[in-house]
Amino acid sequence: MSVEPFNKLVKLAARAFYDDITTKGDNQPKTGRSDNRGIAVVVLDALTRRQWVREEDLAKDLKLHSKQLRRTLRFFEEEKLVTRDHRKETAKGAKIYSAAVAATADGQPFGKEGEEKIKLHTHSYCCLDYAQIYDVIRYRIHRMKKKLKDELDNRNTIQEYICPKCDKRYNALDALRLVSEEDGNFRCESCNGELRAESDKFAAQEGGDGDDNARKRRREKLKSMLQNMETQLKPLMSQLDRVKDLAVPEFGTLQAWEARASAAGRAVNGDSSSNDPSKSSQVGYGGTPMPFLGDTKLYCDWVLNQAIFGLRLSNKAGLLSNAIMVEVAFAGAEGKEVDVKSDAATSLKVLPPWMIKQGMNLTKEQRGEVEQESKMDGSSATGGLSDDKKSTVEDDKKSLQARAMR
């Protein structure tokens, strides 16, 4: 049971679908400061390195506010990516989990009994549901494709009819009153002319008036959207293919997992010393152990977290300044602004290092920025972050000025 291919799937899906998800209350104003886009990706990535995890612990590891994390997790629960379990437990009950976790990592004797309080706390746990994730992603892609294809094939569209004599238009919803008594064909209500289906006319004279042109443009747009989707989701789809015949990692319910983990832990602790370095490497940041994960490497979530946020912010700063230039250039042509901005977004998209493979055709920005940023954030993460924040604010100001000048 290898988790790696599935983890890659989760990571790809996170970046494809949940990259710009914000999870916050509707009443909060949308400011640059409270923008937490990217958090979804960070949380999913962190979960790929864990099995069942207590949400408080995860929040601590990620240096996130537990409320914020809970909101994100609730969102993923709705998206069917994550299973959660809540239970009321005493201090002792909470230790069952700690014990399960501890047992799989190192043979530390856990908690002295007797100091428990009778007070009950509700603790929440979460875990990725790989089997469901696989289905959810496939379903999502299927729906996306089907929707575009249906529109391309004119499926589910309401047929229009036109009277060749007086140009009066009807559609399929009028069908009942258009049927003529004599021959069962559709006839015009005002001149009794036999109606023609609109698409027939469209096929007859390709690209006639403005109406047809609009249709054609729409078709082309749909086609290119479909193509873009195919190319952009290619890594995800090929990963789906790779995972297809593999056994899905199953962790079971929280209770089952705990039982299994502590049983396995007891077995391991029986025959190995507690200072085994290979074993201590299984302990994640903040002492959260990751049982069963065999070949996992040690990650520092927090650094990664900051790196991604740093990237995102600097990315946005670049975007904004681009947008300013664009705005000045197109002063007066308001309509084009949106398109150009989104173009800038796609062209400037910085790929995470693990996504970059040999032979990929990338700009230096896409490659280089990643390394530079993660280095900087790795060494002085907080400094880097606040600088980036500042620059976003400044860019905001600039864009305001640019607007004012117009």
């Binding site: 004119n154 499926r155 589910n156 569209t157 309401i158 047929q159 009819y161 399929a172 919803l173 069908a175 009942l176 049927v179 069962g184 064909n185 559709f186 109606l195 289906a197 698409s199």
Partner: protein, 176 residues
């Protein structure tokens, strides 16, 4: 989709019904007035299943009619966009075909019939596949998906498609 809902209606009753059978008369009249009607809001009223309450009557000036507010339970049928229905074909022409699912009429235009089915005119107009294995004609039973509804105050009309997975003929009258 079918719903079991509670509706309210003001019933006018002629004075000649005032007597010990007043309630019966009221319920009979309610059924006669309401069952089989269609409102854009609730759909087709299929059947009344019970009368919850009959309020105090109000005598109309001049006529002697009495108005009773009546609360009743009923089953209504309201078609929705995206809903899958089974329907009987009632008419076929070159523009498509009409079908009925209970009280609701559905039109399927020819571009929403699979491309491999072609219109054949004649005294029994139909849509047939090139190998003749599938045929849609009057009285065929089809499964279709509603893609649009026109809801007026007193009428609901739908358009549907059979150009999708698992849609199309489910029962051919000629093979029965």
């Amino acid at each position: 989709m079918f719903f079991h809902i509670v509706l309210e209606r003001n019933m006018q009753l002629h004075p000649r019904h005032f007597g010990r059978n007043l309630r019966e008369h009221l319920v009979t009249k309610l059924m006669k007035d309401v069952e089989g009607t269609c409102s854009g809001r609730h759909g087709f009223v299929v059947a009344i299943t019970g009368v919850d309450s009959i309020g105090k009557g109000l005598i109309r000036d001049g006529t002697g009619f009495v108005t009773f507010p009546v609360k009743y339970q009923c089953v209504v049928f309201r078609p929705f966009k995206g809903e899958i229905l089974e329907a009987v074909v009632t008419m076929v022409n070159k523009m498509g075909f009409f079908a009925e699912a209970g009280p609701v009429q559905i039109f399927v235009s020819n571009h929403l019939i699979p491309d491999d089915m072609e219109f054949q005119s004649g005294d029994m107009p139909n849509y047939t596949t090139s190998d003749g294995s599938v045929k849609i004609q009057k009285d065929s039973e089809v499964r279709l998906k509603i893609i649009g509804t026109r809801v007026d105050a007193t009428e609901i009309f739908c358009i549907g498609t059979i150009k999708d997975d698992f849609l199309g003929v489910i029962n051919d009258p000629t093979t029965l």
